[in-house]
């Protein structure tokens, strides 16, 4: 009987990075847009880099820029960050059975680097039938490539923003509206989801005059409640 040969650690790291390649390319434009728009939104280059290195969550970084530009306060931005990133709790709950056997010195960095993209790639790897004990090295490979990639494209965007004067008058902020629209529209494939979005839009418009961007929180809450209730009824 031949012993089962599992992929080595280095092989797993490289495979994780390789399988994340499409995601690396997909994240590039967003890193560039984030870096380019940081200045016009009122965030310093150091602040933008620190955000990409410490927060490492594209959608909430985008939203933070939008909120900064509109003059929102710290509490509103933090609350919105929490709500927008709540989906990561769902990811870590899903991955928990696979990492439960690891020490905290593994779990802490793997949690810090958990993004939508890495979740998608890693979940696929954990679902593979082989019993490799090194699948967390694959997870690490995906994380490291995504992290380096996000830093690189943020930096590129910052330099681009510096070299083009009067960028804030070019209407590039529309790139963010386009990004959000492009993400939301394909989600609206069923009635509860569509109703949740329409409800959120209506409340956001009705309440947009409220201070501290409270309208955003009310709208998100209304959308979620509408979606869940309609799902229950159907």
């Amino acid at each position: 009987m031949t012993p089962v040969r599992h992929p080595r650690r280095r092989t797993e790291v490289l495979a994780g990075a390789r399988d994340s390649l499409p995601m690396l390319l997909g994240a590039a434009p967003f890193g560039i847009i984030f870096g380019t728009l940081a200045g016009p939104s009122g965030l310093s280059p150091a602040g933008a880099l620190a955000m990409s290195l410490c927060v490492f969550a594209g959608s909430s970084q985008f939203i933070a820029l939008t909120l900064l530009a509109s003059g929102a306060g710290l509490a509103v931005i933090l609350l919105t960050t929490f709500v927008v990133n709540l989906r990561h709790a769902l990811y870590s709950a899903t991955l928990l059975p696979h990492v439960a056997g690891l020490k905290q010195r593994w779990r802490i960095p793997l949690a810090f680097w958990l993004t939508d993209e890495t979740f998608a790639v890693v979940q696929h790897r954990y679902g593979a039938p082989d019993l490799s004990p090194h699948k967390h090295w694959y997870y690490l490979g995906s994380c490291l490539s995504m992290y380096a990639n996000w830093f690189f494209w943020t930096l590129t965007g910052l330099m681009l923003g510096r070299s083009i004067p009067r960028l804030e008058h070019m209407g590039l902020e529309f790139a963010m509206a386009a990004t959000f629209t492009g993400i939301v529209v394909p989600m609206l494939r069923n009635r509860p989801m569509l109703a949740a979005a329409l409800g959120a839009a209506a409340v956001a418009l009705a309440a947009h005059g409220l201070p501290y961007k409270l309208g955003l929180m009310l709208a998100a809450l209304a959308g979620v409640v509408i979606g869940v209730v309609l799902e229950e009824l159907s």
Binding site: L78, L90, L96, G182, V185, A219
Partner: protein, 108 residues
């Protein structure tokens, strides 16, 4: 970096990390209630729509602009149509931005 930026980045870092690490920290001592799981699926659509719609319909932050002279509205409609038809994010962003800049150029 100003003190306010340090607070912003530190706060966002703490919030994001706690959300990502919570379940990993607790191990298998917790179960995710099904209702919370269901509610979470509506969060991205609700939050993003609530951000985009006022940006597009009230581009200056105060006045409704529902006409054809609103480049934000036309650009967002183009983005939405391409996203709906082809389900390709970068293509819909590129298409929407093209329409947006064409409108701004024609309106002058």
């Amino acid at each position: 970096m100003t003190g306010r930026e340090v607070a912003l980045v530190a706060g966002m870092t703490a919030v994001t990390f706690l959300v990502r690490y919570g379940f990993f920290a607790l191990g298998e001592r917790v179960a995710f209630p099904p209702l919370a799981r269901r509610a979470l699926r509506y969060v991205p659509a609700a939050v993003l729509t609530a951000i985009v719609v006022p940006m597009v319909l009230l581009p200056d932050g105060a006045h409704w602009q529902l006409g054809w002279h609103n480049a934000w509205l036309l650009g967002a409609l183009a983005t939405g149509l391409i996203a709906w038809r082809f389900n390709h994010l970068l293509a819909s962003i590129a298409g929407g931005m093209t329409v947006f800049f064409l409108c701004r150029w024609m309106i002058g």
